[in-house]
């Protein structure tokens, strides 16, 4: 069994397939940002707390700063850049805009990706459940209130409702 200094990975990101030879120590977040140029995924801390780097890996929200890129080999990744469909915002993105759920916007992509996972599993959440779902995403601007509001608004939209309260 060989000990590798370089490793080849193939991943599907936002529907597109990429292959790269990388250092084993390259973090997934740096792969996404620097190799793929998808800079919507952010780095806000170094202790896996802030969640600004959250992406969807194989259907689940993960902190891409706490994975080596090689761990995603063969997997499918969705980043915030991949959420729009036919030039239209995803309901969660629209909800953030509509409900003033962002200020500086730095935590926003991570928040949106966490909610993307959460709402796919829990389409009819309570406010308390939303708050718990995003406890691994820190925001310093909004006090979370409008983020929670946006999540509930998006949930309704995604269920096919009007979205207006």
């Amino acid at each position: 069994m060989e000990a590798l200094e370089k490793v080849r990975i193939t991943v599907k990101v936002n529907g597109k397939i990429y292959t790269h030879d990388i250092d084993p120590r390259l973090l997934l977040v740096h792969y996404i940002r620097d190799y793929l140029g998808l800079t919507g995924t952010h780095v806000g801390c170094d202790t896996s707390n802030c969640g600004a780097c959250t992406v969807i890996l194989n259907g689940k929200a993960v902190k891409s700063c706490t994975l080596y890129a090689f761990m995603a080999d063969g997997g499918e990744i969705l980043t915030v850049e991949g959420l729009e469909k036919d030039g239209k915002l995803h309901p969660i993105q629209e909800a953030f805009w509509e409900n003033h759920a962002l200020q500086c916007g730095f935590c926003t992509p991570g928040m949106i990706m966490t909610l993307y996972d959460f709402l796919s599993r829990n389409p009819r959440p309570t406010e308390e459940e939303v708050r718990r779902a995003i406890e691994g995403n820190l925001c310093r601007c909004t006090g979370y209130q409008n983020i929670v509001k946006a999540a509930l608004w998006a949930a309704e939209r995604m269920r096919g409702g009007g979205g207006d309260e």
């Binding site: 919507g40 730095f106 909004t142």
Partner: protein, 789 residues
């Protein structure tokens, strides 16, 4: 968003219009400093001192230099002549201010853990980090001092030559009658020591910079996480010795600041110098740990408070002796924060006749302290609001009643500190807040809960603060390095579309839309037809930036005046087009018509085109349609209001739960209530975080123990209570729009509201004061001390 009282009907100003930048930001198309990648770009990393205080005996960079991919390694001595010291921008007057040298890269001594001692540049950030580990620094550790009280004691470790006893400054303010005299007459003095703990601003985006140097033109372009790009350019010009007009500073999307991105730091100077030295673009972005150690902290006061009060609960005077921990060096605005922005606010919204403040600024072996959201006003408000509750406690009065007796009914009002409060119905807003929060009802519920052994508390915080620090002659008189006006250009293009250039630099507050609303209101057009440009010194005229809740009152004021000036010119041109006398031309929305003949009109668009075709201009009118305004307000603005918190304390664990939070604020005319409410809610959580969770903790030798989000407790969505926000509008006569500023009010108000609520819950248990943050273990200790658990 609810209005209790509106000053005017909403047309464009006053409407909750959605932001312009959001579609970009929610799709990941923002552009933050770390997103910038230039061809051939190199990555810098910093060797930082693990010691809070040490001599640098030697640095061996040879191993680091040999690592493949490393392009350069620089020590403080290598860079001494090439990067000047980091200056202070607020040369506080009349305070015997000492400004010791702050080298961008330490060369002989380090004075706080995290101080930069060497710089590594490599082709890859991972390699740069490897090289940091390979730099060997020989330190001789020195005794360190962390607490301000310890630093001024005889025999304490001395940080700087020529700064005896580590005293950076001594500042005094005496307002009104002599305190001792007032106290003698009042008959009673209440004393309390209070700690306003050190906080870490924690903007979600760490700080960073990218620099590119063109050696043929001599131009240095820098993308910096800054709240004030022009100020950065001016400082960097001095620090790097490059003409100001050869530096371009760009603030791209900036991920929050809260004051921490105002100062000029070693970081940006080093990155700029590296780009020049190496001839290639260079990037550096802090890790969070570096951010916590190398970016400014806030607050850190020890206050000894005395209040002169009579038997009826009337507060006649206040005397405060403050030790303000400045950290190891004086950051950009640092000297003004615990003095001008603090001491002058110590009579608050109350009829206090005597204010007596002594502030000693103290150097310690800690990260420098500067303006953090609220900057001085939260510290002052905390004192006053704790005082009101202590007075109530001592005299067995209701805390609401004590405030009622002491509150200034309304403005204008001249405080003993010399400030002239602009406008407001202080007492009415206070009473409205009590009513909305159902204060009396909660008092009853508190009584019932106590019978069951439950601990419910109600906390009030009535604040006043000052924004838009101006006019410039006042700012300058305090030693501020620059005027505090703001600039704007309103440019109507030939097609009638408008671009606004503002010297402010919003970084999340969303003023792009607020400014568009202001222009739309003034010119009778749609906000969609207005683009706002800021954050680039190459396209925007000199401006002071975004901080101190000045952006809408001062920056927006400048824009309104510029729009009015443009409209006046447009009216002249319209008169020519309508072949009428100027004084007969009426303006309605974007239409100009001759008095009495509204059906015969020209539109702003037609006027704009005429301004550029320029063949039908009246005599003396130049072509083009734009105006530049440098607006220096005549006075500060003074937002005020009352916040009420209701909490329940778990008597077993000491955990605090906020049951209700009501904010009633008068920030003057609200330009965009959606944005304003966002500021209130977010600001409230930041203040609540100080009350309940956050504290920067050092050990005795100066290691920062809370160097990450794992140990520094920024609240999550689970801790955040629902904030109910209400606005009461009384226009400020001090600026053209009547706005006062809303960026900091809530952070100022919420901290004492929550602390008062918690201590109110414990009042019947004879617990008088607990210093922040009121973490469960602290409350538990207090309960235990009283034998409750």
């Amino acid at each position: 968003m609810s209005f209790i009282h509106r000053a005017r009907e909403a047309r464009h100003i006053g409407k909750p219009v959605k932001r312009k930048e959001d579609p970009r930001l929610v799709t990941g198309r923002g552009l933050y400093v770390d997103d910038i990648k230039l061809p051939g770009m190199l990555y810098a990393a910093f060797v930082r001192s693990p010691y809070a205080h040490a001599k640098i005996k030697g640095i061996d960079v040879s191993k680091a230099q040999k690592i493949p991919g490393v392009v350069g390694v620089f020590t403080g001595n290598d860079l001494r002549g090439k990067i000047g010291p980091i200056p202070t921008g607020w040369m506080l007057t009349g305070a015997d201010l000492k400004v010791p040298e702050w080298p961008a890269v330490a060369y002989d001594r380090v004075r706080f853990a995290g101080e930069i001692v060497a710089v590594v540049v490599a082709q890859d950030p991972y390699v740069a980090r490897d090289a940091v580990d390979a730099v060997e620094v020989d330190y001789e550790p020195l005794p360190a001092v962390v607490r301000s009280e310890d630093a001024i004691k005889p025999g304490a470790p001395q940080l700087h030559e020529g700064v005896p006893n580590n005293v950076a400054f001594r500042w005094r303010l005496r307002g009104g009658d002599d305190f001792d005299e007032v106290a003698r007459k009042a008959g009673r003095v209440i004393r309390q020591r209070m700690i306003n703990q050190r906080l870490i601003p924690s903007a979600m985006e760490p700080r960073g910079a990218v620099a590119e140097y063109n050696r043929y033109t001599g131009e240095l372009t820098m993308w910096i996480t800054t709240q004030n790009p022009h100020v950065h350019r001016l400082f960097l010009s001095g620090i790097l010795g490059i003409p100001e007009n050869k530096i371009r500073v760009i603030a791209p999307d900036v991920g929050g600041g809260f004051g921490s991105k105002i100062p000029v730091y070693p970081l940006e100077a080093i990155v700029g110098r590296m780009a020049i030295e190496l001839g290639r673009p260079v990037k550096y972005v802090e890790t969070r740990r570096e951010n916590f150690m190398g970016t400014i902290h806030g607050r850190d006061h020890v206050e000894d408070v005395e209040v002169a009060v009579d038997g009826e609960g009337n507060v006649h005077g206040i005397r405060v002796k403050t030790l303000a921990n400045m950290g190891a060096y004086l950051s950009t605005a640092a000297p003004g924060v615990p003095t001008i922005l603090f001491g002058t606010m110590l009579s608050g919204p109350y009829k206090i006749r005597s204010v007596d403040v002594d502030v000693i600024g103290v150097f310690t072996n800690t990260t420098p302290v500067d303006a953090y959201r609220g900057a001085g006003r939260p510290e002052a408000t905390y004192i006053l609001e704790r005082v009101m509750d202590l007075v109530a406690r001592e005299l067995k009065l209701d805390p609401a009643e004590v405030r009622r007796r002491n509150m200034i009914p309304e403005a204008p009002y001249t405080a003993v500190t010399g400030l002239v409060y602009d406008s407001g119905k202080y007492l009415e807003v206070f009473e409205r807040a009590l009513k909305i929060a159902d204060y009396e009802g909660w008092r009853r519920r508190q009584e019932e809960a106590r019978k069951e052994g439950r601990l419910i508390g109600i906390g009030i915080s009535s604040y006043i603060e000052m924004c838009g620090i101006a006019p410039s002659r006042i700012a300058r008189a305090t030693g501020f390095g620059m005027g505090l006006w703001e600039s704007a250009i309103v440019r109507i293009h030939p097609s009638g579309k408008v671009t606004v250039f503002t010297g402010t630099s919003p970084h999340g507050q969303g003023e792009d839309i607020a400014f568009a609303q202001i222009v739309a209101e003034e010119l009778g057009i749609s906000p969609e037809d207005v683009e706002v440009v800021h954050g680039d010194t190459a396209s925007v005229q000199f401006g002071l930036g975004t901080y101190g809740s000045r952006t809408t009152p001062v920056g927006g004021g400048a824009i309104a005046l510029a729009a009015r000036r443009v409209r006046e010119k447009a009216r002249k041109i319209a008169a020519a087009l309508l072949e009428a006398r100027e004084e007969d031309v009426m303006v309605e929305g974007s239409k100009f018509y001759v008095k009495g003949v509204p059906e015969k009109f020209v539109t702003l668009q037609q006027v704009a085109l005429a301004a550029y075709t320029a063949d039908k201009l009246p005599p003396g009118v130049e072509p083009g349609l734009e105006a530049t305004v440098f607006y220096d307000p005549e006075n500060f603005t003074f937002p005020y209001g009352t916040h009420i918190a209701v909490v329940e304390v778990d008597r077993e664990t000491g955990a605090v739960k906020i049951l209700r939070y009501v904010a009633v604020d008068d920030a003057g005319v609200i330009v965009n209530p959606m944005l304003a409410e966002g500021q209130v809610i977010g600001g409230a959580l930041q203040g609540i975080a100080q009350a309940l969770y956050e504290e920067a903790v050092y050990d005795a030798s100066g290691n920062l123990l809370t160097a990450g989000f794992n140990d520094y407790l920024i609240p999550t969505a689970k801790e955040a209570p629902k904030i109910e926000s209400y606005f009461y509008e009384t226009p400020s006569p001090h600026n053209p729009l009547g706005v006062k500023g809303i960026g900091e009010t809530s952070t100022i108000a919420s901290t004492p509201a929550v602390v008062n609520a918690v201590l109110d819950a414990l009042a019947h248990l004879d617990i008088r004061h607990i210093d922040m943050p009121l973490l469960p273990n602290k409350i538990y200790s207090a309960l235990r001390e009283k034998g409750v658990v």
